[in-house]
Symmetry: none
């Protein structure tokens, strides 16, 4: 019994809502969260998840269902939440490859309002003006895009083999990556070069361990 793409989305939403709020979402809240408008359609999905063993339902009660262990496994939520710390990035490997993991920080990503996050060790003083130091751990929420002015973790193809923190500024035909340090100059990628910039995620926190 395989899950439809939509059913996975629904399952993920329920799991996310449950961990965030502490109780399951109502059918209509799921509609709102997933951008549809018909409780009927949503109910069909929930029912499908039930017959497939991802949800236990107590008939007759409102907003009273449980996700089974199978569901939590599917969504990939671990019992003891943590944040992986990536150190130096080896050239040629996917950035977030297992080989690059340096440590598993025993911190719940929810502390930073994220469901999935990772950490990078900051190197150098390029973020000095926003009080981020050499050696700090930057907590990054995974996302493909970000808004202007936000601090993001980026990879630049061909230029560096490491992920770096930069302030994102999109111009009409260019992407600018600004360090938060007056002594350094921004990098500008215009035209085709824009494709060389890959956003890994958005900065949602900083952790510093002082000796």
């Amino acid at each position: 019994m395989k899950l439809t793409e939509k059913q996975k989305k629904v399952l993920e939403f329920i799991a996310d809502f449950q961990t965030r709020e502490g109780f399951p979402p109502s059918v209509r809240e799921m509609c709102q969260g997933l951008g549809t408008s018909s409780p009927g359609s949503m109910h069909k999905h929930v029912q499908a998840l039930e017959t497939r063993g991802y949800i236990e339902n107590l008939p007759g009660k409102k907003r009273a269902w449980k996700l089974t262990q199978r569901a939590w496994d599917q969504v990939g939520i671990q019992t003891s939440p943590s944040i992986p710390l990536y150190g130096r990035i080896a050239a040629g490997l996917p950035i977030l490859a297992q080989q690059n993991k340096e440590e598993e920080l025993p911190i719940d990503p929810a502390l930073f309002g994220s469901r999935e996050a990772f950490a990078l060790k900051v190197q150098g003083d390029s973020m000095k003006d926003v009080q981020i130091r050499d050696g700090d751990l930057a907590i990054i929420r995974k996302q493909q895009d970000a808004e202007n002015g936000q601090i993001v973790a980026v990879m630049v193809e061909g230029l560096e083999t490491e992920a770096t923190l930069k302030i994102l500024r999109r111009k009409r035909n260019a992407i600018e990556l600004h360090p938060a340090n007056e002594e350094f100059k921004p990098q500008v990628f215009s035209g085709k070069d824009r494709a060389r910039v890959t956003i890994l995620g958005k900065l949602v926190g900083v952790i510093r361990r002082t000796p």
Copy 2:
């Protein structure tokens, strides 16, 4: 605001039900579980718990309430290892009193090399020169003393009702507390005044949550 005997029973039932089932009980389920028969009476108790800050309620939604941290503390259910965050310190109370706790950070103190730690919310820019910002969470390892030059959390008797971060400098006959900001002046306590300074612990880390 003290809790009635009955209200404690109700609170315990809700906490128990929540951990067992994964969602909160309805008013009538609480009635059944506690051996009464009137939803009205039970609702009064729930409301009392809400005004006392043990329950957060989302009006208009059914079976949708959350137990606050205070409630979990009252019931005495422990979660994974964590660090308590203390906010404003109320005058006259022991600094690390339960009443001052603002949040329980789901972080293992071992991450900062401590067995027992607590967190304080940094107020103001007195630590600007060491890249600590207003709003940052300072992680403090409990200890009575510290070495020269280290950053410590201190209470000064009579002067302030809040714990502050300062750089410690012991002189022959005085204790100096230096802010890490050139614009501020150090506080000097000499002679008998030295006894007014109480060291709560040593700074072992910083956590920043960016919105």
